[in-house]
Amino acid sequence: MEQLYQQVILDHSKTPNGRGLVELAPEALGAESHQVNPTCGDEVTMRVSFTGEGEQRTVSKISWDGQGCSISQASISILTQLVEGHTVAEAEEVAEVFRELMDTRGKGFAEHDDHALSKEDLLGDATAFTGVSKFPARIKCALLGWSALRDTFAQTGVLSGAE
């Protein structure tokens, strides 16, 4: 249990970053995404605003509201912390590495993975979710917010501009 519910996860779930929806600025590029976890009925609504163009396109603001378990709430909080203020390309890289972590069945990045250290650096607090990846039923909880983020990227087409 302690391996799964690391203190950092409990802390984030108690005082999450970015919680409380703010209006999207009408003049700025932005999108809202609503995602549901059908097994438990948990949901998140996320609003994401962007500034800049091309490679400099940046996630300027993330706000969200929702209900869910401590895993999902902490994951969205950490997502907000990791992604806000970073370029779309950087955000996408973090998202990819987080998804990769979720596929490691509780083992984390392999020791022979030359990039393990840089991946862990990239994820910061999100490495606390290594234990979550051991529980298949909970991976969806951890990915709920990341699915919302990806959906806002798709809606606005910002990814094509970042490549």
């Binding site: 249990m1 438990c40 009925g41 948990d42 949901e43 209900q67 869910g68 378990c69 401590s70 909970r138």
Partner: protein, 426 residues
């Protein structure tokens, strides 16, 4: 009702369920309190299914060789066993893939009747604009969505009996919600969330006053209490094998004889026909006309064995045992921050106890219980409207079954008592 299972009877029952011996999560003895989702299977059921494949496997209702005869006998004997167990006649039992399959079969059959299929006698099932289907607010999605869809396809409207704060159906609304327009009244015998047992006679009486067809979801009742469908007087009922100690992939639709005979078929093909020409076909009598194609014979045989097993245990004893389990389960109310969604009294309720822990999400509750070897269900238990009614997205649910002990419930309570401290909720 006075005789519950003795300690030695319970020990003998548990010995029949090899899975209950295993450990989970690094050597913790398993406490399986998720039988409301699916039950474990005893040796006699597993043996019946294996024995069918090892000794008697052949196509049923066709072929004239000895194996075909034996397989057909086994298949039809199972139908008799299941029918006898629920107080029905064998020709009133249709094999289906499960209760969901049974309820969908019925809804599609009524649509076929609405399209004019099935001749004059099927017109009693025809729905159209102006007609109404009534369900209840605490239905499992399987006894809600097929009716939503049937209403949408036929132009009928949908109404529902509300749930009271104590998790029971509001019987007093039967008079107003069920009207002369009501053609179908579909309701559960026992809630898979609140555990409340429905006052079936009140529902049947109101339906008869207005000439509505009654449909009973008996998934939770058949495994846990004595059920006699003839005495209950419902027109149709659905239940599944896997919740009553039987295998997955099989269940039954019960239909009162005249009803089942008049109901048009839904699935067409081999085994359900009499005469086929290039233009048309005539169909077998019920129940065969609903059993197109090769059936789940081995599972049906095993479901028959499950009915036999429960019948020999005696359902009054099973119910009395589960009442003891319910009493112990409901003691979680004494834990700080734990709130039960459903009746707190033992009258007319199953050992199905759904609850919330204030400040802790159901998934997190379930995870801590799981780490102690206690398996419960978390989520909305396929009853989202009911959860919305109580203002929660999800609950945790513990269900006691014939093979659970009071000690297991105690272990569950001990584990649950640690939850708020672990998640640092005051």
């Amino acid at each position: 009702m006075t005789h519950t299972l003795t300690a030695s009877e319970l020990a003998a029952v548990r010995a029949d369920f090899p899975l209950l011996e295993r450990t989970v999560r690094d050597g913790k003895p398993l406490v399986y309190l998720d039988s409301g989702a699916t039950s474990q299977k005893p040796h006699p059921v597993l043996d019946a299914e294996q024995d069918f494949y090892l000794q008697r496997n052949a196509a049923v209702h066709r072929g004239a060789h000895q194996l075909a005869e034996e397989a057909t006998d086994a298949f039809e004997d199972a139908r008799e066993q299941v029918a006898a167990f629920v107080g029905a006649s064998p020709h009133e039992i249709v094999w289906t893939s499960g209760a969901t399959g049974a309820l969908n079969l019925l809804a599609y059959a009524m649509q076929n009747a609405s399209l004019g299929r099935g001749g004059h006698e099927a017109r009693q099932f025809a729905l159209g604009p102006g007609d109404q289907i009534v369900v209840t607010e605490l239905e499992h999605h399987s006894n809600l969505i097929p009716w939503q869809e049937l209403a949408a396809r036929t132009g009928a409207s949908l109404a529902w009996i509300p749930v009271l704060d104590n998790g029971r159906l509001d019987e007093s609304s039967l008079a107003s919600v069920v009207s002369e327009r009501t053609r179908v009244l579909a309701f559960t015998h026992a809630s898979n969330v609140t555990g409340a047992i429905t006052n079936v006679p009140a529902f049947v009486a109101r339906a008869r006053e207005v000439g509505a067809i009654t449909v009973l979801d008996a998934c939770q009742s058949v495994p846990n209490l004595p059920v006699n469908l003839h005495e209950l007087g419902v027109d149709f009922a659905a239940f599944s094998g896997h919740k009553m100690l039987g295998p997955t992939g099989v269940g039954a639709l019960y239909g009162r004889r005249e009803m089942l005979e008049a109901l048009p078929p839904v699935s067409f093909g081999g085994s359900m026909v009499e005469v086929v020409t290039m233009d048309s076909a005539t169909y077998m009598p019920a129940p065969q006309k609903f059993e197109a194609g090769t059936q789940m014979v081995a599972q049906a045989v095993a479901m028959g064995a499950a009915a036999q097993y429960l019948g020999e245990l005696g359902m009054t004893g099973v119910l009395a045992h589960e009442r003891e389990l319910a009493r112990e389960l409901l003691k979680i109310c004494e834990l700080e921050g734990v709130r039960v969604i459903g009746p707190l009294d033992l009258e007319d309720r199953l050992a199905v106890v759904s609850f919330v822990v204030d400040g802790v999400h159901a998934h997190d509750v379930g995870q801590l219980l799981d780490s102690d070897g206690v398996a419960v269900r978390v989520g909305h238990h396929c009853a989202q409207p009911l959860h919305r009614r109580f203002g929660v997205a999800s609950t945790s649910r513990a269900t006691g079954s014939v093979y659970n002990t009071l000690d297991e419930v105690e272990r569950f309570r001990e584990s649950l008592s640690r939850v708020r401290a672990f998640f640092k909720v005051n």
